[in-house]
Amino acid sequence: MNFLHFMSANRQQVFELTLEHITLAGVGTLIAALVGIPLGIVITRIPSLSKPILGGANIIQTIPSLALFGFLIPAPWIGDRASRLAILALALYGLLPLIRNTYAGIRGVDPAVVEAGRAMGLTDRQLLFQVELPLASGVIVAGLRIAAVLSIGLATIAAAIGAGGLGEFIFRGLAMVNNQVILAGAVPAALLALAADFLLGLLERRLNSLRLRS
């Protein structure tokens, strides 16, 4: 376990890169949620948009991450700073699971319950916020969980464009052919992903118990 020695010798840098990593993945996922959840809601209301929007998000997923980072470099303002670029790319990758799960979650609410709400005189807005979103919340958080884990993994590649994060160690280790350095980046990144998965999993189960009460 020599990489632990390396890590403790460089703990200041490990700490900084981990924070950077969390910021990249966290802000990327947050933006994905802020865009993806509303888009998912919109396509439950305007079904004709569901194919183009889900298809678009799907296509983004198929672009190799290094290529996506490259494509975004010419973008104004965003391209000025590597971290902005990385966050945008991570947000784009996170869109699909969030849009898809929001859509599936709302569509999966028992139609009898929705109709009962409508028949009682709830407005569309009240129906969405009091009935559909609470009952879909478990599925939406499952999407958030996928996006977060995906984003933490992909953020290691952001170091390739100089955006920092734990990928720095990985790329440095690759260049030095030094496994200890690679592990100093890879192991904390994996632990972050596991932690995010676990915590969001807890939230997901809690929210699902709402729906399963029926």
Binding site: A112, V113, A116, A119, L210
Partner: protein, 253 residues
Amino acid sequence: MPLASSNEPAIEFDRVVFTLNGRPLLENLTLSVSQGETLVLLGRSGSGKTTTLKLINGLLMPNEGEVRVSGRSTKQWDPIRLRRDIGYVIQDGGLFPHFTVERNIAVVPRIEGWDRERIQTRVHELLALVGLDPQLASRYPSELSGGQRQRVGVARALAADPPILILDEAFSALDPITRSEMQKEFRALQQRMRKAVVFVTHDLREALLLADRIALMESGRVIVNLLAEEFSRSQHPLVRAYREAFSGPPESR
């Protein structure tokens, strides 16, 4: 206080036609229900009973003719206002699984902006009215029996004291004993409330027990529309077929 100013029916169907994707579901339907009256729509699955109910609260709009509620066409009503004035009970309650009993009953009063005390008083009044223990107020629907859920469904529909109540197979999912209890209680309740009630069922016994009038529907038309006591004597072939279906084998009598 009674002696309503007019004898205008609470609900009126005037030559209503409703089609879905070119297929006629209701043809030339004419019906009326006055305040205090219980009309039972009787018929088999697919005869247009539920469609008729949904035309009353504006979940559906007629293609031809007019549905009038309190004298006004459903096309002129604000649909949200209309629905809050009509209590709706469906099979198995249709309760919100993420709300407690109390919160479920309080849905309409809350969106109508009642204050908390008034809501709480009303919820407890309603629990008593439908024969539920007030301790159930904080339970979730999954923690109740089918009969209890159905009672909550009735309480929820009555919460804001709407003049009209519509029920779609409300008691059909219950076991026979609970069902018979609920039917009797509902009848007693209606005798006190005197609301305009439209009750959809495919069960002749239930219809005879609850109805002032029974409209027998078949393929989107009303075949006969009779007072309950006339209905049990009618010689119309379809009415007789219904009576025979529900009379059971002779040796059991």
